[in-house]
Structure formats: C-alpha cells, structure tokens
Amino acid sequence: MSEQFPPQFLAAIDRLGDDPEYEEIHAALSAPVDQRGFGRRTFLQGALAAGSATALTLGPLAKAAAAVEPLESGDTILVVIQLGGGNDGLNMVGPFGDPAYSTLRRATSVAAGSHPLGVGGLSFHPALPKLAARFQQGKVAVVQGVGDPDKDHSHFSAMAKWMAGTAGDSRTTGWLGRYLDTIPDSDQGFRAVSVDGSIPLHLLGNRSQVSALAEELPFGAERDKGTEVALYEAIRNYGSQPTGLGRLGDAIASMDRECIDLAREFVRLGDPSSDGDDLTRQLRTAAKVVNLNIGVRVIGATLASFDTHRTQAWMHNHLLSDLDEAIDVFYSTLDAQWADQVVIMTFSEFGRRAGDNGSGTDHGTSAPLLVVGDRVRGGLHGRYPSLTALDERGDLEVHVDFRSVYASVLQRWLGADATQILGGTYPQLDLFKSKPPEPSQGPPTKKDPRFLPFDDVAKFVIQQFHDFRGVHPKESDLLAWGNVVYWGFWSIPVALEQMYVGSDLYRFGVDGARTFWMGTGGPPEVDDIWRWTKMRATGSSMEDIAAEVVSSDAWRDRYGRLYGTNLINKVHTDLMGAPPSAQFLAYWQPKFAHENDVNAATMLAQLSMTPYGRLAYHHRACVATVFAAMLRRPPEAEQNRQWATLLDRGAVKLEFLLSTLYESAEYRSRFA
C-alpha cells in the first residue's frame, strides 16, 4: 500500500480482515474520541451547554463559553454528510421510467413518477419527498456522475481516497482538515465539530482540532426515563435545604445540586433521546451547534449501511427516508438568520453497479452527489452517465472527478485556496449563486484578570494542554482543570506543574533531552524534544535517540577525534563525573574495535538510563523541556545549567521555574 496514514490509525487498519465491513473501515479511518470508552464528551459540549444556558451555575463554564469567538456574518458553514458503504446513486436520483433503467434494475427497481425533477428525465427516490420539494425551490444542486476516475471498488481504499481528498497518495489528513488548518483559531477546537461521536479522516488536519459530540452524557443529563428524572430530582433536592451536617455536609449537598443542574444543560444540545433516526438526530444537533454561534465552520455527520448487496429495496428506502427527514429537521431547527450561511453536501465512496444482482447491488463507480442550501445554484450539474454505454465491468462512467466538487466547495463556498489544499487543480463547478454578505465587527470578549495573559480560565487551561501535551483538552479535562484552577484549589504554579508532570513531554521528552544534554553538554532544539517525545511514546528505544545525539556536531566536536579506550574514558568521565570502572572498560573496549558510532550510541543510551544519569541530569532535561513547552525555544546553555543547579539543590521547585516563565515578558508576548 503506497498511501500514508496517520500513525494512530495504523494498528486499526492492520487489524482489518480480508473483507471488512463498511463500519469496520469507518472505525479504522476515524480517530476515537476517548479510548477509555466512557466520558467521550469533549470540551465543546460543555461550552455549548453553557452558551445555551441563561443561568449559569459554574463560573468556569461561563468563562469557557466566553472563550469562544462567534462567527461573523460573512463566514460560511459547511455540513458534510458521509453516506458510508457506497450509496446507490442510480436509485437516489434516476431515470426511473426509462426502459434502459428497467432492463438493468429488476429486484431493486424504483417505480416511476414519484418526485420528478422536471429536468433530465430524472426523479428523486420516493423516500425523498422533502428534498424534492426543496429542489423545486431551487435550493438543491444535484451533481451528476461524480466519482473517482480510477474507479476503485474497494471500500477501504476508495473511502480513504475520498476522505483524504488529495491529488497524491498521502492519507494522513483530510481535505476539510487541511482547510481548517488555514483558518484562525481552528487549533482551539471550535471551528469543526463531528456529531457522530468519532473524528473521521476528512476532518483531520495537521494543526486544527475537531471537537466531537458523542452520545454519552454526564450523570443527570439523560432524562428520557421518568424513573431517572425522579432520581436526579431527589439528588438535586439534597441541596435545597441546610443538611445539618456542617459546612462540608452543606458543600456536598450544593455539589449534588450543581452537578444535576449543570448536566441538565447538556440536554438542550446533545439531545440523544430526541426523535428521529440516526442521521436526523445528528443533523438536529448540527443545527443547534450553528444556532449557538460559537464559530463552528465545518460539521461532520455520518450515515452508514449503504452497502446494500442484498435486500436493497427496503434498506435503501429506510436510509433515504432518514436523509430526507434529517435535512428537513436541520432547516426546521436552524434559526432563520443562519439559512444563507450554511451549505450541506453529501458524499459516498462509490455508487453501485448499474445492473442489480437479483437482490441488491454490488460496488460500482459514479453516483450523484447532493449540495443543499439557500445560496446553492439549484438544478442539475455535471452529466448523467449513460445507462446504455456502460464500461467493460458494467459500471457507470465517471463524468465529474470528486475533487472537482471539493475544489468548488473550497474555493467558492469556503473561500479557500483549493489548489493548495487538494494538491492539484481541478475544474470548478458553478454550484453557488453567491457568498453571504461580508463580516461586521463581533462583540468584545469578557476578561478575568486572574488568568492574564489569558482572558479566562478556559483559555488558560486550553493553552497549557496545547503547550505541554500537544493536544486539545477533552471536555471532562477542561471541566476538571478549570474547576480546580478557577476555584483556587490549585494555584497557577501548581496547575502548571501538574500539567507538566502528567505529560508525555515529562514522561518521555525528558529521556530525549537528558540524553542530548549528557552527550553534548547543552539543551536540544524544541522540534527534537517533541520528536523524541513521540518516538518514546510510540516505543522507540533510547538507542534510536542516542544515535541522533552521537551524529550531532556537538558530540563530534567533543568526541569525534577519540577512539577506543580514550573515547570510553572521556565519555564516562564527562557524563558520570568519574572515570569508568575496570569492569566497564573491560565490557566496552572490545566493542569499540569496530563501528564506533553504533557502539557510542548504545553506550550513551545505557549511561543515560543508569540511575545516576536519570537523576543527575533530570533537572537539566526538565528545564529544556519546560522552555520548549512555554517559550518554544531552548534555554541558553548557561541559563539551563543555572536553573538545573537551583532545582538540584532543592533551592527552588519546578513550580517556581514554571511560574517564573509564566510571568516572563517573553511568555506574555506570545499572547499579545
């Protein structure tokens, strides 16, 4: 396989069997939201809950909501619906009365005349009445004959190709993820939302973060069953009166009340119990996300089970009904002011074979794709493939490269540079009448001076997750950290220390930085620290890192002219503060007869992992990694040494280093 996938996907991809189902592939091509399998909410849901609430019970959530930048009136929004499994486009929009159609389709034939488009001799499937009505209002573009010109019939590689959306072979990011990389604040997780509980490849970028709204809600939020509502109300009632159990008893009772009140706010948004099938629920949530005006530009939704090899008629009818209802519910939930800023598009990895197999349809090639919205140029685009001129496999011809649709949406709707994002130039379709009016000035944000240079506790926490852990905090993390910091249980120095010592940077990055320090007597570059952190976290050995160190100029300057015993002596004395023991010499001398660098790397790695190495150089490595996280530069070697000496002597604690950097002008200037 020539394609490159994100590293976190590889294990799942490897586990796929010879004939994986669509659902397995989708799972392999999506990032799980939380690998522990519970509490899969992310921050956004909390923010949305707070944003939709009129009365806030917890300060940090109010602050979290304030951290969100609303959309401006010229900003466009894209809702992308993946119809997974290979949608039978011929039956979604087709020439149902045509004799050629009747010849090809026997078991899966759709009756003619239900919802004619009025052009091209085409009709919508009978399960799509609302979409047909919307088409008649000029708000639906049907792009005909869309597909992959290479006619890939494998779910896996076709889906990966559609999701990645590039001219080349890379599958490490998705086309919308790369778009998100280009817009401001997308690394804060507010610009893209997935409403199906996972983050699919097409939304993954290099820098941008996607927030996922999953089905699991906090304790107290699920209120569809009368039994549970009575329970939650009873728990809440603990906080309705003094407990007679002292200050802490009252504090516990208040927490009972607060946690139920806060959870109730989730219902307004997540609404997992609301009516409708899978996609309908997702798009209702999507509309609520837009209504909240928190700056989301891209929303992803998924409807699976289109792989209708058998008994297609019933299943396809069911799925298209959900699609029809979902789009309708989206617009009935959406506040009217947003209607001209939103476009919905569908995609599927391929269509189905033109002729059916007596029960269902097999994998095919091209299919129509829908683009829906008030500013869409309604009607037919592209060209319908001929049902009488099939290719040698009996498949429909591809008339529109799927990347042409992407290019049109990127360039003409989202206002992005399509060529750059797709890595190639594709002819654009005239899918949109116009973009919405240009932006006006947004409202000023609220600030809390306690968290300077950050406006509020949420921004403080988010930035620390980005700096120390390279990830966006999950909602549960944000709540937990926000709470303890906001209410002062942890001071900012303590919070910074906790953030640092709980990070991979501390657990693994310090190994790399220490080895570099030992080998070269100075701090490493920031990029190297992060790379080594990832290497160690994914199981690379210390030898791999040590090999990089011994190939550095600094090592060569120190030891490049030494060989054999001289090299062993000098390295040991420099690194361990004492000449090597006779045993150590006896062990290493024979090894240095050949291949100096390999053995030097192994020796360095081993010295770095000795208790002495790990403890004596610990603080130097800490200082280097803390600088990397907070100032994004290495410290001066002397500065590094001075801090490490203070830490070694216990004269100051890590939290002092962290808070000193936090208060430095240089750190503040990052956020000016």
Partner: protein
C-alpha cells in the same frame, strides 16, 4: 494548599501529664453511631455486621482496640500481575485493582488506611518518576508492615526505599560535586519537621549526610556507595560532626528535634483521621504520648481514637470521603469485587490516581474532591454498579426485601443500613423517603431497589467519611 503548616510550635514543659483525657463515657457501652464513625475513620465503609460487632463490646476502649487488632491482616503479597508481560498502564491497573480489593475485603482495614496515609499524604512517591511495579508495590507493603509500627524505623526504611530513592533523586546524591538536595529538603520540610524548624544550612548538611545512599546499578535496590559519601564534618541543627543519613533521622525523631517533629506528625495524622484542625493542647498531649511510647504508631492512633474530640460533633462532619474511600465503601456495601467494579475507570477521573499522587505534597482533601466532573463520576459509577447488580445473571443481586410497593420508610431504612448510615440527618431521610413515596407502587417502583442505592451513595451523609 498541600503544605498546611503546624500552627503551634510550643513545646511542652517537662513533667506535664499529657496522657489523653478520659471521660466517663469511655466506660459506657457504645452507640451504633459511634461504632460506625470509628469504622469509617479506622477503615473505609461501615458494614452492618461490623457495626454490630463493635457495638456489642463493653466500652469504647475495647472497640478501639478491636479496630487496631491487626493480627488477621493479609500477609505481604506481590500482586500476581507483577512479573507478567504486559503494558505498563495495564500493570498499574492491576496494582490498583489489587490494592482496592485488599482495602475492600481485609479484616483489618486500619492497615490499608494507614498505608494510604503514608502513600498519599506523608511519604508520597509516584509512578510518574519511576514505573517499576515491584518497587512501587514493595513500598506499599513497607507502609502496611509499619502501619501501626515504629515510626522511627519506618522513616529510616522509607529513606532508603528504592522507589523513594528514585522519586526524590537521592539515588544520585553523590559527594563531592554531585550533591542533590531534593531528598534532604523534603525530609525536613514535608516528612519530619515542617517549615520554620530548620535552616538552609541544615538542608545543605542534611543533603551531604545522605550522599552515597544511592541506588544499585540496575536501579532496583538500595546500595551504599562509600566512595560517594561525604565523610566530612557537617553542622546540622548546630551540632557539628560527621553526620551520616540514618543518624540525622534519629536526631530529628528521637534527639534534639523530637518535640517539633512529633508535633508536626501528630497534627498531620490528626487531620487525616479526625479531619478537624487540632488544638495546641491536643497536639501537645498526643505528641507527648507518642514520644513516651517510643514513637509507636499504634499508641498514637489509639490515643487519637480515644481522644474525646474524635467523637465530638465537629469531627463527625470534618471529612469528605476521598474517591478511594468512597469507591471502597460503595463496593463494600454492594459486595462487588474489584475484578468486576473496574476501579481504574472511576477513581482516576474522580481525581485520585493510586500510585500517582500529584506531587511530593500528596493529595488534597475535602474541598479538593468537590468538583462537578468528579461528582458526575461518582454518580455514573454508582449507577453503573447498580445496573451490574440488577442483572440476574450476575451474583450481585442485593436487597430483595425492597419490592416495587415497599413503604418509603422500609426503602430508606434498608439503604441507609446497607451503606452504614446509622443515624441519617432528617433532611437526608426526607429526601430519600419523598423520592421513594413518589415512585413506590407506580410503574417505576421496581427502581427503588437499586436507585435507592444511587440516591444514598450521593447523599451528604455518605459522602462525609
């Protein structure tokens, strides 16, 4: 917040009789409410059978001696998972389950309660610095074996415990030029004396005294490196001689610093077991008892439990159950083993990651556990456990006496009893009975058997330890 300082540094005049004050009530039979309080503070949950056992004893002293009887404590055992090939995080989950299960089932919970004090509040070490499971577990077993033992010996052993040598860097504290003050400082500041009882010069001398007390080359054992030990004269607490590490501990705990060191430790343990801020008089009298006993932890813990303030009104509501305490107590009440209750799913997001205290100051207490996300997790946990319980295919189906039409009073009585709440506050009883009344005899009545447990597990009464 982690470093609450001892408020009073006054020394006792010599000859003062500082034995714990006894009152008439000591001689009277004990109430079930007192028995439950003692069980909670000396262990985790208060099971009905244990309450009855203590309440049947002739007096409070007998009850205290009963909870301090460690003769049936499980012997030191390496968890079976240690030594098997598995990922580090899986191994830690196994350690968590093993210890939680021991807390839940031991006949002598005071041993685990004290071990948790030493691990989480007094001598914290963390997996984050050294993830060698054997070292971590050996340290817990060290705490267990000294739970009610000789505090001086324990401190000596902790100082050269490999996990501690890693955690506070003394494993690499080498003279002459590579002196590491991390351990020397914390030994003074957090482990023995507290701030204001030593000088910076003492930190330097202390650190020099501990040079050479290092780790073996494989990092798994303590090893004294004579060549790296500083044999020079050092001035510690104004005494100049060739100090060596262990002698400094003896000097602090049994020599010139014995009084402030005992005051410091007594106040710390009092806050853990009683929850209130001890008065100067209380601290002084207990510290004197402690010293007179030769630093016997058993004597000190006994004196604390016998102290009148231990049973006073303020102490009854002075502790918010930590996640570990809450989880162990809940799974005791419901009788669910750790193999099925998945403690790692719950206690970690509630904020108490066993084997990974947040820093050398250990975990916070009380308010530190009160956050919405932590509280959601408590609710999710107990609801999940109850759903496990009502699955008839599982052996945890409990409380058959609660039926869909049971009276509110019966529901309340059975659930309070199961959770060891002997005298619920009127407000809490009213909430539970009102809820039961609203569902009893209705379509929702069958939820009373398990949602009653959820309700009580979330009550202020149960969340106070």
């Amino acid at each position: 917040m982690f470093r609450r300082l001892l408020r009073s540094q006054e020394h006792c005049p010599p000859g003062t009789d500082l034995r714990p004050q006894t009152t008439g009530s000591l001689l009277m039979a004990i109430s079930r409410s007192d028995a439950a309080h003692l069980l909670r503070r000396s262990g985790f949950g208060a099971r009905p059978a244990d309450i009855a056992r203590l309440a049947a004893l002739p007096n409070w002293e007998a009850a205290v001696d009963a909870v301090l009887d460690t003769s049936r404590a499980p012997a030191a055992t390496m968890p079976p998972a240690v030594g098997q090939t598995m990922e580090m995080w899986e191994l830690r989950i196994e350690l968590i389950k093993f210890w939680i299960e021991r807390m839940r089932t031991t006949p002598c919970p005071i041993v685990e309660k004290m071990a948790l004090f030493f691990h989480g509040h007094h001598f914290p070490c963390s997996w984050s610095k050294c993830d060698e499971a054997t070292l971590a577990w050996n340290q817990i077993e060290l705490f267990r074996s000294f739970a009610l033992g000789d505090y001086h010996q324990l401190t000596q052993r902790v100082a050269v415990d490999p996990w501690m040598l890693w955690y506070l860097d003394n494993g690499a504290n080498k003279a002459p030029s590579r002196i590491n003050e991390n351990f020397g400082r914390e030994l003074l500041e957090l482990f023995t004396l507290g701030r204001n009882n030593y000088t910076e010069a003492d930190v330097v001398a202390m650190s020099r005294a501990w040079t050479g007390h290092n780790l073996s080359a494989d990092g798994l054992r303590y090893q004294f490196d004579a060549a790296a030990h500083d044999n020079g004269q050092k001035t510690l607490f104004g005494i100049t001689k060739n100090w060596d590490g262990p002698a400094t501990i003896t000097e602090i705990l049994k020599g010139s610093k014995a009084v402030p060191a005992s005051l410091f430790f007594v106040a710390k343990l009092w806050r853990y077991l009683v929850g209130t801020e001890p008065s100067a008089t209380t601290t002084q009298s207990l510290a004197a008892t402690f010293r007179a006993s030769g630093l016997s932890l058993r004597s000190l813990v006994r004196a604390i439990f016998l102290h009148p303030d231990f049973r006073g009104a303020a102490a009854r509501t002075a502790v918010v159950r930590s996640p570990v305490d809450w989880f162990v107590s809940v799974t005791q009440a419901l009788d669910v083993p750790a193999t099925a209750s998945q403690p790692q799913w719950w206690i970690v997001p509630m904020g108490q990651d066993l084997f990974r205290p947040p820093n050398v100051g250990g975990w916070g207490s009380n308010e530190a556990w009160l956050s919405a996300s932590g509280w959601w997790r408590r609710g999710e946990c107990i609801r999940w456990l109850c759903y496990q319980m009502v699955d008839p295919s599982l052996p945890y189906n409990r409380f058959p006496e609660i039926q869909p039409d049971s009276s509110p009073k019966l529901v309340a009585d059975v659930t309070f009893e199961a959770f060891g709440i002997v005298s619920p506050s009127p407000a809490t009883r009213k909430v539970v009975e009102d809820w039961a009344r609203s569902v009893s005899g209705t379509w929702h009545g069958s939820s009373m058997r398990y949602f009653g447990m959820v309700l009580v597990a979330m009550s202020p009464d149960f969340n106070l330890g």
